[in-house]
């Protein structure tokens, strides 16, 4: 039985008891979040294996007979699409959005629990349709994750018969699922906040998820429209995107369509998609850093403004992905300018994370390690983005490994760093158990250093002119043999990073059963999700009475307060203060007496 999102509930007895209602057809946002997360991680692991196969081919060409050029490009396509849409978007918004929104704003559930449940099952359907393409004649599409026409639907491209159809269908289904979930998230944030939870008292995680969801709601229609129009071109023979062309010596029936139009539509979705993934990551990492540095987030208002500004600007930069497609030079100038402008609020965020750490009481928990790792990887990925935002720099680099390195650092490694930080941070609330710190630290260091071993050399390969999307480099005059040696070392590093994720999976499963009990608020966090009556929170989250919010989300190390954190639901009169000796002036070192809670080793 669903709960009303915001209502006191004297009778706590109507929790579902049967397995099927509790775990399968559950309308509890926490269960749905876990369903989303498990599915996304499962499909993400498939994409990880695909990347391993790609790297095997690139590092050791002509060694593995089962990786032919078609299979290689199919792996590239499926790896990209799965990681961007079905893992990152689904895990940040469907997983963490679902789990955190009601708990962090003090609601019992989403506003529309049934729609929320439906959202997950439709998402699962989209995943099944996508994975089905591995088993149809011709295999999955090999059109590249951008699915550019005309080649995406023409013979000669792998999966041009069934693979592309299933991909487009799966995307359309995913967008339906996202819209159902997204409407829930924004409505819940706007209408179901607990008493006292004003918008500017919301934790930054919620701000990031909220603005990212609005971006998703406004950007995914572009992908939906392009998917439908391409389906028409493929199935009915319309010419929305298909020009008059000769394919394999045969004049096709298409005429007059514009492939560039598809590119505009795709990137009108594609660029905001970067921020659909990045904004929740920005928000969540802010909360992890503030909590584990025992310090209020530096520049909270700037952080909120930056999230909103980045969200708005993300809709007017899309054509920087299309410099090589050719455009009016004035447009190139416009999009280069907007791209550089968007770096300003982004840089403000980076400064604020660093300034939050400055003189903080930093606890190097695994979550904190991943959060600090994110600041490094995001700064590197962001800086190379500034290079590529300029037309004259982008043109020679666009089709090289420099771009692969850039977007993997900024959009692959960085959000995943935050995902790991978030999992290590919130796992104790979700399960009531700690993840093992030793395994967590090993996982962090191998992943962090490993990704640098993978992507730093790729920048160099890009400068050498090594082209991306190629199955094998072959013999060229301008690429030295050492590039291949570097490729081999990248592959070895990538495989090690891939295998290191097994430590994480093992840690999850092991700690689920044998992890140390975490208690209600192991990190000494201020936000509402750590103040629930039960850990893990029960269906309905808050027992009989909803929490009431009295302060913002970052009251850490408040001078003269006994504890180094004051939860959001504690009223001023309930805060325990320490007596200050009259003779001694106020000394900040008093705040450091209580080192705060930490992670068991």
């Amino acid at each position: 039985m669903p709960h009303t999102a915001i209502a006191d509930q004297p009778d706590e007895s109507h929790h579902p008891t049967k397995f099927i209602w509790k775990y399968i057809w559950s309308q509890d946002h926490k269960v749905i979040a876990i369903q989303y997360a498990v599915t996304a991680i499962f499909v993400g692991l498939i994409a990880l294996v695909l990347s391993g196969l790609m790297r095997l081919q690139l590092g050791f060409p002509n060694t593995f007979s089962f990786i032919d050029p078609s299979a290689y490009i199919q792996f590239v396509t499926m790896h990209g699409m799965i990681m961007v849409i079905y893992l990152l978007t689904a895990l940040f918004l469907g997983g963490f959005g679902n789990y955190l929104i009601p708990l962090m704003i003090g609601a019992r559930d989403m506003v529309f629990p049934f729609l929320n449940m439906l959202s997950y099952w439709v998402y699962l359907l989209s995943v099944i349709v996508l994975l089905a393409s591995f088993f149809v004649p011709g295999g999955p599409t090999g059109a590249g994750w951008t699915l550019y026409p005309p080649q995406a639907i023409l013979q000669g491209t792998p999966g041009a018969d069934w693979g592309i159809l299933l991909m487009l269908l799966s995307l359309a289904i995913f967008i339906v699922a996202f819209t159902m979930g997204g409407l829930n998230y924004v409505t819940t944030v706007l209408q179901a906040r607990a008493k006292g939870m004003t918008l500017m008292r919301m934790p930054l995680s919620i701000w990031g998820i909220f603005v990212a969801t609005i971006l998703g709601l406004l950007a995914f229609p572009a992908l939906l429209v392009s998917a439908i129009m391409m389906l028409f071109d493929k199935l009915i023979g319309t010419s929305f995107f298909m020009p008059a062309l000769v394919s394999m010596g045969e004049q096709l029936d298409y005429s007059g369509g514009s492939p560039i139009l598809f590119q505009h539509l795709f990137w009108f979705f594609g660029h905001p998609e970067v921020y659909i993934v990045a904004l929740p990551a920005f928000g969540m990492v802010s909360d992890v850093i503030a909590t584990h540095a025992r310090k209020n987030i530096f520049g909270y208002r700037q952080m909120v403004w930056a999230i909103v500004a980045i969200g708005g600007l993300s809709f007017i930069v899309w054509a920087h992905h299309m410099y090589v497609s050719g455009m009016n030079p004035y447009f190139g100038f416009f999009f280069a300018t907007t791209t550089l402008i968007i770096a300003v609020p982004t840089a403000i965020k980076v400064y604020n994370w660093v300034l939050t750490l400055w003189k903080g009481n930093i606890h190097l928990t695994t979550a904190m390690l991943f959060a600090i790792g994110f600041i490094f990887t995001f700064t590197h990925g962001g800086l190379t983005g500034l290079f590529l935002g300029n037309v004259v720099v982008d043109l020679p680099l666009s089709d090289t490994y420099f771009v692969v390195a850039h977007f993997h650092m900024v959009m692959g490694v960085s959000p995943i760093m935050v995902l790991f930080a978030a999992i290590y941070h919130w796992f104790p609330k979700i399960t009531g158990k700690h993840l093992h710190k030793g395994m967590g630290n090993a996982h962090f260091w191998v992943t962090f250093l490993g990704t640098y071993a993978v992507y730093l050399p790729m920048h160099y390969l890009g400068f050498l002119g090594v082209p991306r999307r190629y199955y094998a480099m072959g013999d060229t005059d301008f690429i030295p043999d050492s590039a291949q040696t570097l490729n081999a070392s990248i592959t070895v590093a990538a495989l090690i990073v891939g295998l290191a994720q097994l430590i994480f999976i093992f840690n999850l499963l092991h700690s689920l059963r044998k992890g140390k009990p975490a208690g209600a608020n192991p990190w000494g966090a201020t936000t509402l999700e750590w103040q629930t009556e039960h850990t893990p929170p029960r269906h309905g989250n808050w027992g009989t009475h909803l929490p009431e919010v009295h302060r913002w989300a970052y009251d850490y190390s408040v001078p003269n307060a006994k504890d180094d954190f004051i939860p959001q639901n504690v009223a001023d009169q309930d805060v325990v203060m320490v007596a200050v000796p009259e003779t001694a002036p106020l000394d900040v070192s008093q705040q450091a007496i209580d080192l705060g809670p930490g992670e068991p080793s």
């Binding site: 009303t4 999102a5 915001i6 209502a7 506003v111 529309f112 819209t179 997204g182 409407l183 829930n184 924004v186 409505t187 706007l190 209408q191 179901a192 906040r193 607990a194 008493k195 006292g196 939870m197 004003t198 918008l199 500017m200 008292r201 609005i214 709601l217 406004l218 229609p221 572009a222 939906l224 429209v225 439908i228 129009m229 028409f232 009915i236 023979g237 319309t238 010419s239 929305f240 029936d253 005429s255 007059g256 369509g257 514009s258 139009l261 539509l265 009108f268 209020n296 909270y300 208002r301 909120v304 403004w305 909103v308 302060r551 913002w552 970052y554 009251d555 001023d572």
Partner: protein
């Protein structure tokens, strides 16, 4: 503006006495429904907006043949489309009547309004389908010209949105027949009314857009910079 005022708040400072730092406590179902509908309408608007942009761009390609403007073009005579418009307008009016009736808790009028709204909406869908058939019989197939392709695409997507609305209306009706709760029905019908009004506006826009002459498309494209 209240949004700017909100974003300018300094949440780390204690609220001033009587500053009203608390949003209303307790979920207001009508407000939740309205918020969700506003966002859904925004999503649907983006879909039609993007299709319109691509359409206007496509009108300037040499193979594009407008469906109106010349006497032999199918939409030189738009009487059938006007009839369809009237049917959708009637559905919208019936829903408004339903909202008023449910507020007055007049069971008889509620029933008539619900039946009328559903019937007129379904009639609109059938009438649109009839237009498709007429076009098809005249040789205007989906793929034979981009103007045709867009007509089928636009009207198909519009019809699907109306179909979705009908599902929501059916849910309101079923809930009402089981619970006899006029307040709940009123809430649901108010949302349906807003949605139908939106779909009527979209249809009027599409009607105008799809029945322009080539010269008009040229003028709009020049204005838009295509």
């Amino acid at each position: 503006m209240s949004l700017l005022k909100t974003l300018a708040e300094k949440p780390w400072l204690p609220p001033m006495a009587g500053a009203g730092f608390a949003p209303p406590h307790g979920l207001i179902p009508s407000a939740a429904g309205r918020t969700a509908l506003k966002f859904f309408i925004a999503v649907a608007s983006v879909i039609f907006f993007l299709l319109t942009i691509t359409f206007l761009s496509r009108t300037q390609y040499p193979d594009f043949q407008a469906l109106a403007g010349e006497p032999w073009q199918p939409f030189s005579n738009t009487s059938q489309l006007w009839l369809n418009t009237a049917i959708l307008l009637l559905a919208s009016i019936a829903l408004r009547w339903g909202v008023v009736s449910s507020r007055q808790q007049n069971l008889g009028q509620i029933t008539i309004a619900l039946v009328a709204a559903s019937l007129f909406s379904m009639m609109f869908l059938f009438a649109q389908f009839a237009v498709w058939q007429q076009l098809y019989s005249l040789g205007y197939f989906v793929s034979s010209n981009p103007a045709n392709s867009y007509f089928y695409l636009f009207t198909g997507i519009h019809g699907l949105h109306l179909l979705g609305g009908l599902v929501a209306l059916a849910r309101c009706t079923v809930l009402f027949t089981t619970r006899r709760d006029c307040t709940q029905l009123n809430r649901g019908l108010a949302l349906c009314r807003s949605y139908w009004d939106f779909l009527l506006l979209i249809w009027l826009f599409l009607f105008l857009l799809l029945t322009l002459s080539s010269a008009s498309y040229r003028a709009i494209a020049v204005l838009c910079g295509f």
